[in-house]
């Protein structure tokens, strides 16, 4: 298992003050939000976020009588509530959010930089998740796009709460594309809804054709898989058809694109795919607004 997933020390760039708060108490600081989670997050340079843990307990007075309470609550209910809030916020803007998931080193950030350049003046923003460093957000900002780095500390995935904070720090234009680059990990991010419109899994051709079989949950959760680094396929005897067959074995409904972020091969189809999805969402948002106004 991952040691301290989701409850490590997390930072967000952009604020110079830190604050701590525990369970179930009101706290008085400059942010207009409430927290269900415990621990603290620290706001660093550029608005990047750092989340952390702190043991906190509540003492509860009360009666004593052995009894059974029907709970029937999803363990991740709180995350799902944060995700719903994020989703409503994005829907209000007609913004389309993609949760990019993969193992470390599949080329997510390079693909993202190439994607941003190819999208030209389309309004967009990037949320970067890593355990440590703001290197990826720096790479994105070098393209001119706004980016917020979230450092999860020991955490192995982004959660809905962290992404909500990152959205607070991004001044999203209506109908923006929002790219959320999750922590490189093919296991945990599959279970955490961030409020995104879809997950896109990136799989590089150097990783082995059976990777979808080894980590089926992530590829089952993804709507699209990008088979990246296709320019390297001849050098590592990669069988691209076998990759696709294994992807469809774990998720018969998945779409697959073959791309090389380095050479630009296949990038035009990925861009067209993104524009189509985002365009549909923007039209739906407009239509909902029109109906609400009538």
């Amino acid at each position: 298992m991952c040691t301290v997933c989701g409850c490590g020390d997390t930072t967000v760039e952009g604020h110079s003050h830190g604050h701590e708060h525990g369970h179930g108490h009101d706290h008085d600081h400059g942010h207009d939000h409430s927290h269900d989670h415990h621990g603290h997050h620290h706001h660093g340079a550029h608005g990047d976020l750092h989340f952390g843990t702190g043991p906190a307990g509540v003492s509860v007075g009360g009666m004593s009588q052995e009894r059974l309470i029907q709970v029937e609550t999803d363990i991740l209910a709180k995350n799902d509530a944060h995700a719903r809030t994020n989703r409503a916020r994005l829907a209000g803007l007609g913004a389309y959010a993609v949760n990019l998931v993969s193992s470390p080193g599949s080329g997510k950030t390079t693909l993202l930089c190439a994607t941003i350049r190819a999208l030209g003046d389309t309004p967009l923003a990037v949320i970067e998740g890593d355990q440590q460093t703001a290197n990826d957000a720096d790479r994105i900002r070098a393209t001119g796009a706004p980016a917020i780095q979230i450092n999860t500390g020991k955490g192995c995935h982004l959660d809905g709460h962290m992404v909500g904070h990152a959205l607070d720090h991004l001044d999203l234009a209506p109908e923006s594309l929002v790219f959320i680059e999750n922590v490189g990990n093919l296991v945990c991010p599959a279970g955490f809804d961030l409020g995104e419109d879809c997950k896109v899994a990136i799989l590089s051709v150097t990783e082995g054709e059976d990777k979808p079989l080894k980590y089926p949950d992530m590829f089952t959760a993804a709507r699209l898989a990008i088979l990246n680094k296709t320019d390297l396929a001849p050098y590592c005897d990669a069988d691209l058809d076998a990759y696709e067959a294994n992807l469809r074995r774990v998720n018969p409904a998945i779409e697959v694109l073959r791309v090389s972020a380095r050479t630009g091969e296949g990038l035009d189809i990925w861009i067209a795919w993104l524009r189509a999805q985002a365009g549909i969402k923007a039209l739906r948002a407009k239509s909902a607004q029109t109906q609400a106004a009538e």
Partner: protein, 113 residues
């Protein structure tokens, strides 16, 4: 998977319930875990013991109830029960199956005092 995070989620729900129902202690807690939920049960049991310290559920007995996994077979178009995520369709032998259920992770009930 992310068993520590799950244990944190359980603790948070326990604390909410303790406030809502005014109890001090949980003696037994039952979870329902789907076969495809990706939960490592031993790891969750370990995380539970560690994370519940100082909470009303410290020392509580943790029970996990398995829920079956089901999937839609894209070859015979039937929904079938699967033991393992990569098993072939038990009806037609097909290999393209999309999970339909079995990713549950929820607290069913608690015995409290």
């Amino acid at each position: 998977m992310h068993e520590m995070s799950l244990a944190e989620g359980i603790r948070s729900i326990v604390e909410d319930q303790a406030r809502a129902h005014a109890f001090d202690r949980v003696s037994r807690l039952r979870l329902e875990i789907g076969r495809f939920a990706g939960v490592e049960k031993d790891a969750l049991a370990f995380a539970f013991d560690v994370v519940m310290r100082g909470s009303p559920a410290e020392g509580a007995v943790l029970e996990m109830i398995d829920l079956p996994g089901s999937a839609l077979c894209y070859d015979c178009l039937k929904t079938v029960e699967l033991n393992d995520r990569l098993d072939p369709c038990p009806l037609c032998g097909g290999g393209r199956l999309l999970p339909q259920g079995g990713d549950e992770m929820r607290i069913k009930d608690m015995e409290v005092a």
